[in-house]
């Protein structure tokens, strides 16, 4: 009888893991995001634990080469300008394989960061281990995290806003709405959004 029970539990676990592997794996809203230690364009290593003052983070998987990512560069800079001082700095992570996408190598990242005047860390996920953990599938792909006692909790996953073509025609600023809600201690209306983007190159 006990054996049967164990069997059923095992089966259930198997079935569950089969399902989750089919699903887009990675974090869901509510999960605790693990920290990382990645190289920045200035040569330093960056971890979330470095930010003792932060209330949370706007983690953005982005790159040099994707037209959607490029379309959002200025808006990413603006996000950091607005929210770093409020305790939610932008942390940009470049997830592409630089063999598959040479235009995203560290030298190119440095050049782009300098040319655009990135005011936030632009890190390289060299071993491509961080983006799968998060479940990022495209660039740009945003994860808003909030510091809690349990760790950095995922509060929002998705797009920056609802109009990649025309910043002036944006109706919904998803990331700003999410961070504003966190700052005001209110619930986030849209915790998960989708947008077209470039696949992460492996």
């Amino acid at each position: 009888m006990k054996l049967l029970k164990v069997g059923i539990v095992l089966l259930a676990i198997l079935a569950f893991s089969a399902f989750t592997s089919l699903d887009n794996s990675g974090y869901k809203v509510g999960d605790i995001a693990s920290d990382f230690n990645l190289e920045n364009v200035n040569g330093e290593m960056v971890s979330l634990t470095n930010y003792s003052e932060a209330k949370g983070f706007i983690v953005i998987f982005t790159c040099n080469t994707c037209p959607y990512a490029i379309a959002y560069e200025d808006r990413i800079i603006a996000l950091n300008n607005k929210y770093e001082s409020k305790g939610f700095p932008v942390i940009a992570i470049m997830p592409n394989s630089t063999t598959a996408s040479p235009g995203d190598n560290m030298e190119a990242m440095k050049a782009r960061a300098k040319a655009k005047g990135f005011n936030f860390p632009y890190l390289i996920d060299k071993d491509q281990k961080v983006y799968p953990e998060y479940g990022a599938s495209r660039t740009p792909h945003v994860y808003v995290l909030q510091k809690t006692k349990k760790g950095n909790q995922v509060k929002y996953i998705g797009a920056i806003d609802d109009n990649y073509q025309h910043p002036e025609s944006v109706n919904q600023k998803y990331v700003e709405n999410a961070v504003d809600a966190l700052l005001e201690g209110k619930p986030i209306k849209e915790e998960h959004t989708r947008a077209i983007g470039c696949t992460i190159k492996v």
Binding site: S101, D162, R194, A195, I196
Partner: protein, 177 residues
């Protein structure tokens, strides 16, 4: 009275202006395409596109989302073209849905279609509110491209991945059984 006249005058001027601009553009278009076949893009928003996802006419539809700026999409296009021509007598139809940016229709997309002599039907989807329409294509879709939807009257499968010819053929044959 004077005021009204002014408005009238400026309206006439504005109208004339517009017309000359329009004429100029059509002129250059004709000149450009003089030597080559003219390509008319079928540009739609999601509402106009949605019926393409729901046809019930005993055909198998392969709907591929791509863009000229997406390297893995461009790489897999020949596989879709090959399936389209090989299976055309088997009630299979490939539709290539371009997500190119409007400012690149003339400079990139049309030249690309011409250069590669694309034969499959091409639809250009221009709808910025992707958070609204992506789940209507498939709940499974995160928004990354390339991605492909294959459907028939009874079956429907979504793939957020790249295909080579053999992989695509295997999937398509599942729909022919």
């Amino acid at each position: 009275m004077k005021y009204r006249f002014c408005i009238c005058l400026s309206l006439i001027l504005l109208f004339n202006c517009n017309q000359t601009v329009k004429n100029d553009r059509s002129l250059t278009l004709i000149e450009k395409n003089d030597t080559q076949e003219k390509i008319e893009l079928n540009i739609v928003d999601f509402n106009s596109f949605e019926p393409y996802l729901k046809r019930q006419d005993n055909q198998v539809y392969i709907i591929n989302f791509w863009a000229t700026w997406c390297a893995p999409c461009v790489k897999e296009l020949p596989a879709f073209e090959k399936i389209n021509s090989e299976f055309s007598n088997k009630n299979i139809k490939v539709i290539l849905v371009s997500l190119d940016f409007p400012k690149q229709y003339e400079s990139k997309l049309i030249p690309f279609i011409k250069e590669n002599k694309l034969q499959s039907e091409i639809i250009v989807l221009n709808d910025t509110d992707s958070n609204t329409w992506i789940p209507k294509v498939s709940e499974e879709w995160s928004g990354a491209i390339p991605s492909t939807l294959i459907y028939s009257n009874t079956e429907r499968k979504f793939y957020e991945k790249s295909f080579n010819y053999n992989e695509l053929k295997i999937e398509v044959q599942q729909f022919l059984k």
